[in-house]
């Protein structure tokens, strides 16, 4: 599992794709919003939690189709499927690798972008916490979507249509956590719910994703 994780990470870093790209995408989304709604800091501060979460979510979405696609095309997914490691474990490793390459950098970059949107002071810590708790779920749900569409020639758009509705609970609880923190309320309840959803996704989605990969490899 460790070997596979290192392989996936090495591929992600050296191909130069995912890592910087999703961060840059996150930046551009956050930069575009003030152009759309105007530069008043008051307005921006109100919508900042939602923008940051939606931006992170879209940035996560960008690199999903690469989770299985390259391995599927060159046949290494078949090799992985016949390896002694159960397919559920392989899927989980893929999810973790995707999170390390996109979710974690997004979490670390989010406070800086929060500054751009004049996010209120107490919310920064909770922004990091909520992204840290929520983005793994986004990556794992992404492996499920990627597994469903891996056999398709142009699955990218379909992948978004399938995965985005699954992101709704995570988004609601994540953005609500930051919003409550920004307004000075206690964010504990949505943060706990977010963590709960995330933990359930991490535990269960690999089974669904592995089932989808098996069907596609048949």
């Amino acid at each position: 599992m460790i070997a596979l994780l290192r392989r996936d990470l090495a591929l992600a870093f050296r191909s130069g794709g995912g890592f910087g790209l999703s961060l840059a995408f996150f930046l551009i989304v956050v930069t575009l919003v003030p152009f759309g709604v105007g530069p008043e800091t008051g307005t921006l501060a109100v919508i900042a939690p939602g923008i940051l979460w939606v931006g992170a979510l879209l940035a996560c979405l960008l690199s999903l189709d690469r989770i299985f696609q390259l391995d599927y095309e060159d046949g290494s997914l078949d090799l992985l499927a016949t390896a002694p490691l159960p397919l559920e474990g392989i899927v989980a490793v893929k999810g973790v690798a995707h999170w390390l390459v996109t979710g974690l950098p997004l979490t670390l970059a989010a406070p800086v972008l929060g500054l751009l949107l004049s996010l209120p002071g107490p919310a920064y810590g909770w922004l990091m916490v909520s992204l840290l708790a929520g983005t793994p779920a986004l990556s794992f749900l992404g492996t499920f979507g990627a597994a469903l569409t891996v056999g398709l020639k142009r699955g990218g758009l379909l992948l978004s249509l399938l995965v985005l509705p699954l992101y709704i609970p995570t988004l609601i609880f994540g953005a609500e956590t930051v919003r409550r923190a920004a307004e000075g309320l206690s964010p504990a309840t949505p943060a706990l719910l977010l963590t709960g959803v995330s933990a359930a996704v991490l535990a269960l989605i690999p089974y669904a994703a592995a089932a989808a990969v098996r069907i596609n490899l048949k």
């Binding site: 499920f144 469903l148 569409t149 056999g151 398709l152 699955g155 379909l158 249509l161 399938l162 985005l164 509705p165 699954l166 709704i168 609970p169 609601i172 609880f173 609500e176 949505p190 719910l193 959803v197 989605i205 669904a208 089932a211 989808a212 069907i215 596609n216 048949k218």
Partner: protein, 242 residues
């Protein structure tokens, strides 16, 4: 009689040949009685005026929008577990009907909401959940049409339907958490002593029966079409090989 007999498409077609005219007839009768009674023979509500009558389309279609997804879930599980081919096709056949029901519920709700709430749309939990349900239907149908191999498509859409159901329910409660509602409580429920007033209640029951029958009739019809389309593609494939 068991559902396994109807895993044989020929048996399914034979049986539905006999059932379908009756279901269709009953649908027409129930809808005509229910809608006519509802639209012309019930009094106006003292607060909502005649707009209340949209309930005869709104409530049954909303009910069927959810039940159609539920039926797809059950048929998907039957397909995944026991490779019941007609079951998979029935799930495929139900999706467009379900999405139409969802759309009718959303549209009639908007038409009613405009004069009553003063807005076409509000981000109320129930409305939002229905919009999410609508998107789930779209994704499900898109996945069906994207995959060429019919068995792979049936497998993958079934997995999506099962996972999607979990998340649809989860979204329903997450949305509740996110915003408080404008929508009134349930109009009908089995565990309440008193539902809406009897004058509105009986025609509504006819309308609901009509929508249920309509759904059954459409799904049977569409499943038969799917079976025949499958047979045609099999024949074409055989011809191409010969």
């Amino acid at each position: 009689m068991s559902i396994w007999e109807y895993a044989n498409p020929v048996r399914f077609i034979q049986t539905t040949d006999r059932i379908l005219p009756w279901v269709t007839g009953a649908t027409v009768v129930a809808l005509i009685v229910g809608l006519f009674w509802g639209f012309f023979l019930t009094p106006d509500d003292y607060r909502q005026g005649s707009t209340v009558k949209i309930i005869y389309l709104h409530v049954p279609s909303a009910l069927m929008a959810i039940n159609a997804w539920l039926m797809m879930l059950v048929t998907s599980i039957i397909w995944i577990v026991r490779r019941h081919h007609v079951s998979a096709l029935a799930a495929k056949a139900a999706a467009p009907v379900g999405v139409t029901m969802t759309l009718i519920a959303l549209l009639t709700g908007a038409i009613w909401g405009q004069p009553m709430w003063g807005t076409w749309w509000a981000w109320d939990p129930r409305l939002t959940s229905f919009l999410i349900l609508f998107i789930f239907y779209l994704g499900y149908m898109a996945l069906w049409s994207a995959i060429e191999n019919p068995d792979t498509a049936a497998d993958l859409t079934s997995v999506l339907c099962i996972v999607g159901s979990v998340f649809a329910v989860l979204s329903r409660y997450a949305v509740n958490f996110w915003n408080q509602g404008l929508h009134q409580g349930a109009t009908l429920s089995l565990d309440k002593e008193e539902n809406i007033a009897d004058v509105f209640y009986y025609p509504l029951l006819f309308c609901i029966a009509g929508f249920v029958l309509l759904f059954v009739a459409l799904v049977l019809l569409r499943t038969r079409t799917e079976i025949r389309a499958r047979r045609i593609s099999a024949l074409l494939a055989r011809e191409a090989r010969a």
